[in-house]
Amino acid sequence: MNFFQKVWLIVWKDLVIELRTKEMLSAMFIFSLLVVIIFNFAFDPGMSYIKDVAPGILWVAITFAGTLGLNRSFINEQENGCLYGLMLAPIDRGAIYLGKFLGNLLFMLLIEIFLFPIFVVFFNLSVLQSLPLLLLIAFLATVGFAAVGTLLAGMAANTKTREILLPILFFPLVVPVIIAAVKSTGRVLNGDPMDQLAGWLQLLAAFDIIFLVVCFLTFEYVIEE
């Protein structure tokens, strides 16, 4: 099997386990749904300022649900020492990282697909025309989020305080992605011209590329003792 087939094998394994247990997806979905519902009661959807606060609400829900999922993503690897099982195999550490990253990315995108229509309905937003742009923002932000999150989840997995350690390490690093996602989503919802959006999209794309490369290269040192 070549490098990419082994990456896919790890993704397949995570998908099979998650579809069987639904532990990660159900926790992420319920949490993000609760956040949207609570904010829906806090802010009246009919108010004029709703387009200014809605992007923040959406990305708070996605960020915290994503962190919940990242914390769980290495639980399967910790049980029975499975991460060591992967490390014993003749497989590049980068392939393990990419496999876990793609799994996390898929699960987060899946949650966003279910959450977004609910969010739009709850906050009475009209997004049909700007949907392609919103999907692009969601994809770029989620790639950056999962890239950094997978590395740090792997690092935190070897510690006893992983539930605390992950957010402490993760949020400061991922803040540029969240800010860019909130700002660009706001611009799209307000119907701002494309030139005001381009800078944020470029920031997201640059962050994705840099962090994917850095995390891919450093994962080996993070998981080895």
Binding site: K13, G81, C82, Y84, G85, P90
Partner: protein, 241 residues
């Protein structure tokens, strides 16, 4: 296997030192194992035996010294060498929410095994779990976990098998099955390194016996040079009761 290969060195450990902060786990360990050796390592808790196995399996880097496998330095060709090594440890390295068959096929694919489905059936059969192959591993008893872990370790037919207390959790039947499997692997000229606290079992099955105390190998001889009673006496002399 060609007869000329049999006495060739396959594992060369040279002045291995491993420290964890202030703790020194290995203090200059050196030995050479030939192809087909069955090396049994004894020692008290905290002697550094598991650290040695973890370095031999390329899970840990030594602080200094080196390990050569098939004349290739592990620090330079670890990925290639992992293909030649199978590990059975306290950890079973199995996914609870995959079936026994899915687990073994997964690892067979990672190890580039040709026809992984068929090979998985074969090794699951060898460890006596074929009737449970489609059950989720989380439903298994501790002994069954360990048996499937043996199947996982040999699925790629490794040249070297490393075992860290492999009898943990096994009932009499499973222990006999493991013993038979190890004898079979040994007859097939596989090199075996086993850590155990059970002196009788180790002396009975090993061809080379060693004692590790406080990070150093203090005894290392071929089995025919010692008997069980003599070895027990030696062991307690080195370990200090």
């Amino acid at each position: 296997m060609h007869e000329s290969n049999i006495r060739q060195p396959i594992i060369q450990v040279e002045n291995l030192i491993k420290t964890f902060g202030h703790l020194t786990a290995l203090r200059g360990i050196s030995f050479t194992l030939n192809r087909g050796d069955f090396f049994v390592l004894f020692g008290p808790n905290g002697a550094g035996k598991t650290t040695l196995i973890r370095i031999l399996s390329a899970l840990l880097h030594p602080t200094s010294g080196r390990v050569l496998i098939d004349n290739c330095d592990m620090s330079e060709c670890a990925e290639e060498l992992r293909q030649k090594i199978g590990v059975i440890s306290h950890h079973v390295y199995l996914y609870n929410n995959l079936t026994a068959h899915e687990n073994i096929v997964f690892f067979a694919r990672l190890y580039n095994v040709a026809n992984p489905e068929k090979r998985a059936d074969q090794v699951i059969g060898e460890v006596g779990l074929i009737a449970r192959k489609n059950d989720l591993v989380r439903t298994f008893s501790r002994g069954m976990y360990q048996r499937l872990s043996i199947a996982r370790a040999i699925v790629h037919d490794p040249q070297i098998v490393l075992l860290d207390e492999p009898y943990t959790g096994l009932d009499q039947h499973a222990a006999q099955m493991l013993k038979n499997l190890l004898v079979k692997l040994h007859q097939a000229q596989r090199t075996i390194v086993m850590i155990t606290h059970n002196l009788q079992r180790g002396v009975e099955i090993g061809t080379r016996l060693a004692i590790q105390v406080k990070g150093q190998i203090v005894f290392n001889e071929y089995q025919h040079q010692v008997d069980l009673a003599g070895f027990e006496e030696l062991y307690f002399k080195y370990v200090g009761n």
